[in-house]
Symmetry: C2
Subunit: 201 residues, 2 copies
DNA sequence: TTGCGATGTATCGAGCCGATACATCGGGAC
DNA sequence: GTCCCGATGTATCGGCTCGATACATCGCAA
Protein backbone atom coordinates (compact mmCIF):
# COMPACT_ATOMS: atom_id res chain seq x y z
CA UNK A 1 0.00 0.00 0.00
CA UNK A 2 2.72 2.40 1.03
CA UNK A 3 4.48 1.15 -2.08
CA UNK A 4 1.73 2.59 -4.26
CA UNK A 5 1.74 5.86 -2.36
CA UNK A 6 5.49 6.34 -2.69
CA UNK A 7 5.59 5.51 -6.39
CA UNK A 8 2.68 7.86 -6.98
CA UNK A 9 4.36 10.77 -5.26
CA UNK A 10 7.71 10.15 -6.93
CA UNK A 11 5.91 10.17 -10.26
CA UNK A 12 5.09 13.83 -9.63
CA UNK A 13 8.64 14.78 -8.69
CA UNK A 14 11.87 13.30 -7.29
CA UNK A 15 12.05 13.70 -3.52
CA UNK A 16 14.05 12.77 -0.46
CA UNK A 17 12.63 10.89 2.50
CA UNK A 18 11.72 13.78 4.74
CA UNK A 19 9.86 15.54 1.94
CA UNK A 20 8.13 12.32 0.98
CA UNK A 21 6.83 11.90 4.49
CA UNK A 22 5.40 15.41 4.58
CA UNK A 23 3.65 14.92 1.26
CA UNK A 24 2.34 11.58 2.47
CA UNK A 25 0.94 13.26 5.57
CA UNK A 26 -0.85 16.04 3.72
CA UNK A 27 -2.10 14.29 0.60
CA UNK A 28 -3.28 11.00 1.99
CA UNK A 29 -6.33 12.11 3.92
CA UNK A 30 -7.49 11.22 7.38
CA UNK A 31 -7.87 7.61 6.34
CA UNK A 32 -4.12 7.10 6.39
CA UNK A 33 -2.19 8.37 9.42
CA UNK A 34 1.25 9.89 8.92
CA UNK A 35 3.80 7.26 8.08
CA UNK A 36 6.74 6.65 10.42
CA UNK A 37 10.39 6.68 9.35
CA UNK A 38 10.73 3.19 10.67
CA UNK A 39 8.39 2.22 7.85
CA UNK A 40 9.46 4.69 5.20
CA UNK A 41 13.18 3.99 4.96
CA UNK A 42 12.95 0.20 4.88
CA UNK A 43 10.28 0.52 2.21
CA UNK A 44 12.46 2.83 0.14
CA UNK A 45 15.24 0.29 0.45
CA UNK A 46 12.90 -2.45 -0.72
CA UNK A 47 11.65 -0.43 -3.69
CA UNK A 48 15.20 0.40 -4.70
CA UNK A 49 16.13 -3.27 -4.53
CA UNK A 50 13.16 -4.13 -6.72
CA UNK A 51 14.37 -1.60 -9.27
CA UNK A 52 11.31 0.63 -9.09
CA UNK A 53 13.13 3.66 -7.75
CA UNK A 54 16.73 4.80 -7.87
CA UNK A 55 18.61 7.05 -5.52
CA UNK A 56 20.76 9.97 -6.59
CA UNK A 57 23.01 11.80 -4.16
CA UNK A 58 21.93 15.40 -4.43
CA UNK A 59 24.86 17.31 -5.84
CA UNK A 60 24.85 20.73 -4.28
CA UNK A 61 24.27 22.47 -7.62
CA UNK A 62 20.61 21.68 -7.80
CA UNK A 63 19.50 21.49 -4.21
CA UNK A 64 20.61 23.75 -1.30
CA UNK A 65 23.79 22.96 0.61
CA UNK A 66 23.71 20.42 3.45
CA UNK A 67 27.43 20.37 2.84
CA UNK A 68 29.17 17.02 2.83
CA UNK A 69 29.14 14.01 5.14
CA UNK A 70 25.78 12.37 4.91
CA UNK A 71 24.13 14.28 2.09
CA UNK A 72 20.43 14.00 1.52
CA UNK A 73 19.35 11.21 -0.75
CA UNK A 74 16.97 12.05 -3.55
CA UNK A 75 14.82 9.22 -4.86
CA UNK A 76 13.31 9.12 -8.31
CA UNK A 77 11.05 6.64 -10.04
CA UNK A 78 12.38 4.38 -12.82
CA UNK A 79 10.68 3.25 -16.02
CA UNK A 80 9.94 -0.12 -14.40
CA UNK A 81 8.58 1.78 -11.42
CA UNK A 82 6.14 3.68 -13.60
CA UNK A 83 4.92 0.46 -15.13
CA UNK A 84 4.52 -1.12 -11.73
CA UNK A 85 2.64 1.93 -10.49
CA UNK A 86 0.21 1.71 -13.39
CA UNK A 87 -0.38 -1.96 -12.58
CA UNK A 88 -0.95 -1.31 -8.89
CA UNK A 89 -3.37 1.49 -9.69
CA UNK A 90 -5.79 -0.80 -11.53
CA UNK A 91 -5.25 -3.93 -9.42
CA UNK A 92 -7.76 -4.34 -6.60
CA UNK A 93 -7.54 -6.78 -3.73
CA UNK A 94 -9.40 -6.84 -0.41
CA UNK A 95 -6.90 -4.38 1.05
CA UNK A 96 -7.98 -1.84 -1.55
CA UNK A 97 -11.15 -1.24 0.41
CA UNK A 98 -9.90 -0.77 3.96
CA UNK A 99 -9.30 2.75 5.23
CA UNK A 100 -5.65 3.03 4.29
CA UNK A 101 -5.91 1.32 0.93
CA UNK A 102 -8.94 3.26 -0.17
CA UNK A 103 -7.36 6.55 0.90
CA UNK A 104 -4.28 5.94 -1.20
CA UNK A 105 -6.20 4.78 -4.26
CA UNK A 106 -8.58 7.71 -4.01
CA UNK A 107 -5.71 10.15 -3.84
CA UNK A 108 -4.54 8.95 -7.25
CA UNK A 109 -7.99 8.80 -8.83
CA UNK A 110 -7.13 11.53 -11.30
CA UNK A 111 -4.58 9.18 -12.86
CA UNK A 112 -7.02 6.31 -13.35
CA UNK A 113 -9.74 5.45 -15.82
CA UNK A 114 -13.38 5.76 -14.93
CA UNK A 115 -13.98 2.00 -14.89
CA UNK A 116 -11.35 1.49 -12.19
CA UNK A 117 -12.65 4.42 -10.18
CA UNK A 118 -16.16 2.99 -10.22
CA UNK A 119 -14.91 -0.46 -9.27
CA UNK A 120 -13.07 0.92 -6.28
CA UNK A 121 -15.88 3.21 -5.15
CA UNK A 122 -18.39 0.38 -5.35
CA UNK A 123 -16.07 -2.02 -3.55
CA UNK A 124 -15.56 0.50 -0.79
CA UNK A 125 -19.29 1.08 -0.54
CA UNK A 126 -19.89 -2.64 -0.25
CA UNK A 127 -17.31 -2.85 2.52
CA UNK A 128 -18.87 -0.02 4.51
CA UNK A 129 -22.37 -1.39 3.95
CA UNK A 130 -21.25 -4.68 5.47
CA UNK A 131 -19.87 -2.87 8.48
CA UNK A 132 -23.11 -0.91 8.73
CA UNK A 133 -25.24 -4.06 8.63
CA UNK A 134 -23.11 -5.58 11.35
CA UNK A 135 -23.68 -2.56 13.55
CA UNK A 136 -27.43 -2.53 12.89
CA UNK A 137 -27.50 -6.22 13.80
CA UNK A 138 -25.81 -5.51 17.11
CA UNK A 139 -27.98 -2.51 17.86
CA UNK A 140 -31.13 -4.45 17.10
CA UNK A 141 -30.35 -7.84 18.65
CA UNK A 142 -27.84 -7.28 21.44
CA UNK A 143 -28.79 -3.82 22.62
CA UNK A 144 -29.91 -4.99 26.06
CA UNK A 145 -26.66 -6.88 26.65
CA UNK A 146 -24.61 -3.69 26.23
CA UNK A 147 -24.17 -0.78 28.63
CA UNK A 148 -25.06 2.79 27.68
CA UNK A 149 -21.53 3.83 26.71
CA UNK A 150 -20.86 0.85 24.45
CA UNK A 151 -24.25 1.41 22.89
CA UNK A 152 -23.51 5.05 22.22
CA UNK A 153 -20.20 4.09 20.60
CA UNK A 154 -21.98 1.68 18.28
CA UNK A 155 -24.61 4.26 17.44
CA UNK A 156 -21.96 6.81 16.59
CA UNK A 157 -20.17 4.25 14.43
CA UNK A 158 -23.40 3.44 12.63
CA UNK A 159 -24.02 7.10 11.86
CA UNK A 160 -20.50 7.44 10.47
CA UNK A 161 -21.09 4.41 8.23
CA UNK A 162 -24.37 5.76 6.93
CA UNK A 163 -22.74 9.08 6.24
CA UNK A 164 -19.87 7.49 4.32
CA UNK A 165 -22.22 5.37 2.24
CA UNK A 166 -24.13 8.50 1.24
CA UNK A 167 -20.86 10.18 0.34
CA UNK A 168 -19.84 7.23 -1.81
CA UNK A 169 -23.26 7.14 -3.52
CA UNK A 170 -22.77 10.75 -4.45
CA UNK A 171 -19.32 10.10 -5.87
CA UNK A 172 -20.56 7.10 -7.83
CA UNK A 173 -23.46 9.04 -9.30
CA UNK A 174 -21.12 11.84 -10.18
CA UNK A 175 -18.72 9.40 -11.80
CA UNK A 176 -21.40 7.72 -13.88
CA UNK A 177 -22.84 10.99 -15.08
CA UNK A 178 -19.66 11.94 -16.89
CA UNK A 179 -18.52 15.14 -15.19
CA UNK A 180 -15.68 13.44 -13.41
CA UNK A 181 -13.81 15.72 -11.11
CA UNK A 182 -16.60 18.20 -10.54
CA UNK A 183 -17.98 18.18 -7.03
CA UNK A 184 -20.95 20.11 -5.81
CA UNK A 185 -20.24 23.23 -3.84
CA UNK A 186 -20.81 23.28 -0.13
CA UNK A 187 -21.93 26.78 0.78
CA UNK A 188 -24.21 28.23 3.38
CA UNK A 189 -27.12 27.95 0.96
CA UNK A 190 -26.69 24.17 0.59
CA UNK A 191 -25.19 23.05 3.87
CA UNK A 192 -26.28 19.41 3.74
CA UNK A 193 -28.49 17.14 1.64
CA UNK A 194 -31.87 16.39 3.26
CA UNK A 195 -31.27 13.52 5.59
CA UNK A 196 -33.62 10.53 5.90
CA UNK A 197 -34.43 9.70 9.52
CA UNK A 198 -32.47 6.87 11.07
CA UNK A 199 -34.38 3.65 10.90
CA UNK A 200 -34.22 2.40 14.44
CA UNK A 201 -37.20 0.39 15.73
CA UNK B 1 -4.20 -1.73 24.12
CA UNK B 2 -5.40 -5.19 23.24
CA UNK B 3 -4.16 -6.09 26.70
CA UNK B 4 -6.72 -3.73 28.26
CA UNK B 5 -9.48 -5.05 26.03
CA UNK B 6 -8.81 -8.69 26.87
CA UNK B 7 -8.58 -8.09 30.60
CA UNK B 8 -11.79 -6.07 30.48
CA UNK B 9 -13.71 -8.81 28.72
CA UNK B 10 -12.35 -11.56 30.95
CA UNK B 11 -13.46 -9.51 33.93
CA UNK B 12 -17.04 -10.02 32.76
CA UNK B 13 -16.66 -13.78 32.28
CA UNK B 14 -14.05 -16.47 31.54
CA UNK B 15 -13.77 -17.18 27.85
CA UNK B 16 -11.77 -19.07 25.25
CA UNK B 17 -9.99 -17.47 22.35
CA UNK B 18 -12.64 -17.80 19.69
CA UNK B 19 -15.31 -16.34 21.94
CA UNK B 20 -12.98 -13.55 23.00
CA UNK B 21 -12.45 -12.57 19.40
CA UNK B 22 -16.15 -12.40 18.67
CA UNK B 23 -16.77 -10.23 21.72
CA UNK B 24 -13.87 -8.04 20.71
CA UNK B 25 -15.38 -7.60 17.26
CA UNK B 26 -18.85 -6.65 18.48
CA UNK B 27 -18.10 -4.56 21.57
CA UNK B 28 -15.17 -2.52 20.38
CA UNK B 29 -16.85 -0.25 17.89
CA UNK B 30 -15.85 0.73 14.42
CA UNK B 31 -12.75 2.42 15.81
CA UNK B 32 -11.10 -0.93 16.38
CA UNK B 33 -11.22 -3.47 13.58
CA UNK B 34 -11.63 -7.16 14.42
CA UNK B 35 -8.48 -8.59 15.92
CA UNK B 36 -6.64 -11.41 14.16
CA UNK B 37 -5.67 -14.70 15.77
CA UNK B 38 -2.07 -14.02 14.94
CA UNK B 39 -2.37 -11.18 17.43
CA UNK B 40 -4.76 -12.70 19.92
CA UNK B 41 -2.98 -15.93 20.81
CA UNK B 42 0.49 -14.46 21.30
CA UNK B 43 -1.07 -11.76 23.45
CA UNK B 44 -2.88 -14.33 25.57
CA UNK B 45 0.43 -16.14 26.00
CA UNK B 46 2.08 -12.92 27.11
CA UNK B 47 -0.70 -12.09 29.58
CA UNK B 48 -0.53 -15.58 31.03
CA UNK B 49 3.24 -15.27 31.44
CA UNK B 50 2.75 -11.96 33.23
CA UNK B 51 0.36 -13.65 35.61
CA UNK B 52 -2.65 -11.54 34.72
CA UNK B 53 -4.71 -14.39 33.32
CA UNK B 54 -4.67 -18.14 33.87
CA UNK B 55 -5.81 -20.90 31.59
CA UNK B 56 -8.04 -23.77 32.64
CA UNK B 57 -8.66 -26.76 30.37
CA UNK B 58 -12.39 -26.91 30.07
CA UNK B 59 -13.50 -30.14 31.67
CA UNK B 60 -16.47 -31.37 29.74
CA UNK B 61 -18.81 -31.02 32.74
CA UNK B 62 -19.18 -27.30 32.45
CA UNK B 63 -18.79 -26.62 28.78
CA UNK B 64 -20.10 -28.71 25.83
CA UNK B 65 -18.10 -31.64 24.51
CA UNK B 66 -15.28 -31.06 22.03
CA UNK B 67 -14.15 -34.44 23.26
CA UNK B 68 -10.49 -34.92 23.96
CA UNK B 69 -7.32 -34.24 22.01
CA UNK B 70 -6.86 -30.52 21.86
CA UNK B 71 -9.63 -29.31 24.17
CA UNK B 72 -10.62 -25.69 24.15
CA UNK B 73 -8.71 -23.50 26.55
CA UNK B 74 -10.70 -21.23 28.82
CA UNK B 75 -8.92 -18.15 30.12
CA UNK B 76 -9.86 -16.31 33.27
CA UNK B 77 -8.52 -13.19 34.91
CA UNK B 78 -6.44 -13.39 38.10
CA UNK B 79 -6.42 -11.06 41.10
CA UNK B 80 -3.25 -9.41 39.79
CA UNK B 81 -4.96 -9.09 36.44
CA UNK B 82 -7.85 -7.21 37.98
CA UNK B 83 -5.46 -4.83 39.67
CA UNK B 84 -3.56 -4.31 36.45
CA UNK B 85 -6.81 -3.69 34.58
CA UNK B 86 -7.82 -1.01 37.08
CA UNK B 87 -4.43 0.67 36.61
CA UNK B 88 -4.64 0.57 32.83
CA UNK B 89 -8.14 2.02 32.92
CA UNK B 90 -7.05 5.24 34.59
CA UNK B 91 -3.63 5.55 32.97
CA UNK B 92 -3.58 7.71 29.87
CA UNK B 93 -0.76 7.98 27.35
CA UNK B 94 -0.76 9.39 23.83
CA UNK B 95 -2.04 6.06 22.49
CA UNK B 96 -5.19 6.52 24.59
CA UNK B 97 -6.42 9.09 22.11
CA UNK B 98 -5.92 7.36 18.78
CA UNK B 99 -8.84 5.48 17.23
CA UNK B 100 -8.10 2.06 18.68
CA UNK B 101 -7.11 3.27 22.14
CA UNK B 102 -10.06 5.58 22.51
CA UNK B 103 -12.46 2.90 21.33
CA UNK B 104 -11.26 0.45 23.96
CA UNK B 105 -11.26 2.97 26.78
CA UNK B 106 -14.71 4.22 25.83
CA UNK B 107 -16.06 0.67 25.85
CA UNK B 108 -15.12 0.36 29.51
CA UNK B 109 -16.31 3.82 30.54
CA UNK B 110 -18.98 2.38 32.78
CA UNK B 111 -16.22 0.95 34.98
CA UNK B 112 -14.37 4.24 35.40
CA UNK B 113 -14.82 7.34 37.50
CA UNK B 114 -16.11 10.55 35.99
CA UNK B 115 -12.77 12.36 36.30
CA UNK B 116 -11.05 9.78 34.12
CA UNK B 117 -13.87 9.79 31.63
CA UNK B 118 -13.64 13.55 31.27
CA UNK B 119 -9.87 13.44 30.93
CA UNK B 120 -10.10 10.91 28.12
CA UNK B 121 -12.95 12.65 26.31
CA UNK B 122 -11.12 15.97 26.44
CA UNK B 123 -7.86 14.40 25.31
CA UNK B 124 -9.62 12.77 22.40
CA UNK B 125 -11.29 16.05 21.50
CA UNK B 126 -7.94 17.81 21.54
CA UNK B 127 -6.50 15.15 19.24
CA UNK B 128 -9.33 15.44 16.73
CA UNK B 129 -9.21 19.23 16.87
CA UNK B 130 -5.54 19.10 15.94
CA UNK B 131 -6.32 16.87 12.99
CA UNK B 132 -9.13 19.22 12.02
CA UNK B 133 -6.86 22.26 12.13
CA UNK B 134 -4.34 20.46 9.98
CA UNK B 135 -6.99 19.75 7.37
CA UNK B 136 -8.27 23.34 7.44
CA UNK B 137 -4.72 24.51 6.95
CA UNK B 138 -4.31 22.31 3.88
CA UNK B 139 -7.69 23.25 2.46
CA UNK B 140 -6.96 26.95 2.93
CA UNK B 141 -3.32 27.14 1.92
CA UNK B 142 -2.61 24.31 -0.50
CA UNK B 143 -5.97 23.92 -2.21
CA UNK B 144 -4.67 24.97 -5.62
CA UNK B 145 -1.79 22.49 -5.45
CA UNK B 146 -4.22 19.55 -5.09
CA UNK B 147 -6.43 17.91 -7.70
CA UNK B 148 -10.20 17.66 -7.32
CA UNK B 149 -10.23 14.12 -5.92
CA UNK B 150 -7.60 14.74 -3.27
CA UNK B 151 -9.41 17.89 -2.33
CA UNK B 152 -12.70 16.07 -1.97
CA UNK B 153 -11.04 13.48 0.26
CA UNK B 154 -9.69 16.22 2.53
CA UNK B 155 -13.05 17.93 2.63
CA UNK B 156 -14.77 14.70 3.61
CA UNK B 157 -12.15 14.11 6.30
CA UNK B 158 -12.69 17.61 7.65
CA UNK B 159 -16.42 17.08 7.91
CA UNK B 160 -15.86 13.82 9.78
CA UNK B 161 -13.57 15.63 12.23
CA UNK B 162 -16.06 18.42 12.82
CA UNK B 163 -18.77 15.88 13.40
CA UNK B 164 -16.71 13.91 15.90
CA UNK B 165 -15.78 17.05 17.81
CA UNK B 166 -19.45 17.93 18.12
CA UNK B 167 -20.17 14.41 19.35
CA UNK B 168 -17.42 14.67 21.95
CA UNK B 169 -18.67 18.08 23.08
CA UNK B 170 -22.06 16.53 23.66
CA UNK B 171 -20.59 13.68 25.68
CA UNK B 172 -18.48 16.06 27.74
CA UNK B 173 -21.45 18.31 28.51
CA UNK B 174 -23.48 15.27 29.41
CA UNK B 175 -20.70 14.00 31.66
CA UNK B 176 -20.29 17.32 33.47
CA UNK B 177 -23.98 17.74 34.05
CA UNK B 178 -24.17 14.65 36.23
CA UNK B 179 -26.55 12.32 34.42
CA UNK B 180 -23.79 10.01 33.33
CA UNK B 181 -24.95 7.26 31.08
CA UNK B 182 -28.06 8.99 29.80
CA UNK B 183 -27.93 9.83 26.14
CA UNK B 184 -30.50 11.78 24.24
CA UNK B 185 -32.87 9.81 22.09
CA UNK B 186 -32.53 9.84 18.34
CA UNK B 187 -36.01 9.52 16.91
CA UNK B 188 -37.73 10.80 13.84
CA UNK B 189 -38.82 13.89 15.74
CA UNK B 190 -35.24 14.88 16.57
CA UNK B 191 -33.19 13.49 13.71
CA UNK B 192 -30.19 15.78 14.09
CA UNK B 193 -29.18 18.87 16.04
CA UNK B 194 -29.32 22.06 13.97
CA UNK B 195 -26.02 22.22 12.23
CA UNK B 196 -23.99 25.42 11.94
CA UNK B 197 -22.80 26.09 8.40
CA UNK B 198 -19.25 25.04 7.62
CA UNK B 199 -16.87 27.92 8.04
CA UNK B 200 -14.99 27.83 4.80
CA UNK B 201 -13.76 31.16 3.42
C1' DT C 1 -21.29 -41.36 4.57
C1' DT C 2 -19.62 -37.87 2.91
C1' DG C 3 -18.77 -33.53 2.78
C1' DC C 4 -19.16 -28.78 4.27
C1' DG C 5 -19.49 -24.69 7.17
C1' DA C 6 -18.93 -23.18 11.85
C1' DT C 7 -16.05 -23.69 15.77
C1' DG C 8 -11.54 -23.88 17.69
C1' DT C 9 -6.12 -23.49 18.55
C1' DA C 10 -1.84 -22.14 16.77
C1' DT C 11 2.33 -20.35 13.98
C1' DC C 12 4.97 -17.71 10.45
C1' DG C 13 6.62 -14.04 7.52
C1' DA C 14 6.28 -9.48 6.68
C1' DG C 15 4.58 -4.76 7.41
C1' DC C 16 4.40 -1.07 10.33
C1' DC C 17 5.02 1.89 14.53
C1' DG C 18 7.30 4.51 18.33
C1' DA C 19 11.55 5.36 20.35
C1' DT C 20 15.98 6.40 19.69
C1' DA C 21 20.41 7.98 17.78
C1' DC C 22 23.00 10.98 15.17
C1' DA C 23 24.09 14.98 12.11
C1' DT C 24 23.34 19.54 9.77
C1' DC C 25 21.10 24.07 9.05
C1' DG C 26 19.24 28.71 10.01
C1' DG C 27 18.46 32.07 13.19
C1' DG C 28 17.60 34.44 17.63
C1' DA C 29 19.57 35.34 22.50
C1' DC C 30 23.38 36.93 24.96
C1' DG D 1 30.88 36.08 17.92
C1' DT D 2 29.00 32.00 19.81
C1' DC D 3 25.80 29.23 21.83
C1' DC D 4 21.77 26.87 21.86
C1' DC D 5 17.40 25.36 19.88
C1' DG D 6 14.05 23.89 16.62
C1' DA D 7 13.54 22.34 11.94
C1' DT D 8 15.55 19.37 8.60
C1' DG D 9 17.46 14.99 7.44
C1' DT D 10 18.89 9.68 7.46
C1' DA D 11 18.73 5.43 9.74
C1' DT D 12 17.89 1.23 12.94
C1' DC D 13 15.71 -1.74 16.50
C1' DG D 14 12.28 -4.14 19.30
C1' DG D 15 7.80 -5.26 19.44
C1' DC D 16 2.97 -5.33 18.00
C1' DT D 17 -0.19 -6.65 14.46
C1' DC D 18 -2.02 -8.67 10.24
C1' DG D 19 -3.16 -12.08 6.62
C1' DA D 20 -2.26 -16.61 5.23
C1' DT D 21 -1.97 -21.06 6.48
C1' DA D 22 -2.39 -25.52 8.85
C1' DC D 23 -4.83 -28.64 11.47
C1' DA D 24 -8.71 -30.68 14.22
C1' DT D 25 -13.60 -31.25 15.84
C1' DC D 26 -18.66 -30.59 15.72
C1' DG D 27 -23.38 -30.56 13.82
C1' DC D 28 -26.03 -31.26 10.04
C1' DA D 29 -27.89 -31.87 5.50
C1' DA D 30 -27.64 -34.11 0.97
Amino acid sequence: MLELAILGLLQEAPMHGYELRKELATKLGTLRAAISYGTLYPTLKRLKLAGWISEAEANSDIIPPMTSKRGRVVYKITAEGKEHFADLLTQTGPETYDDAGFGVHFTFFSRTDRATRLRILEGRRRRIEERREGLREILARAADRLDAYTLELQRHGLEACEREVRWLEELITNERSGRTPAFRQRTESTPEPPRPPLDRP
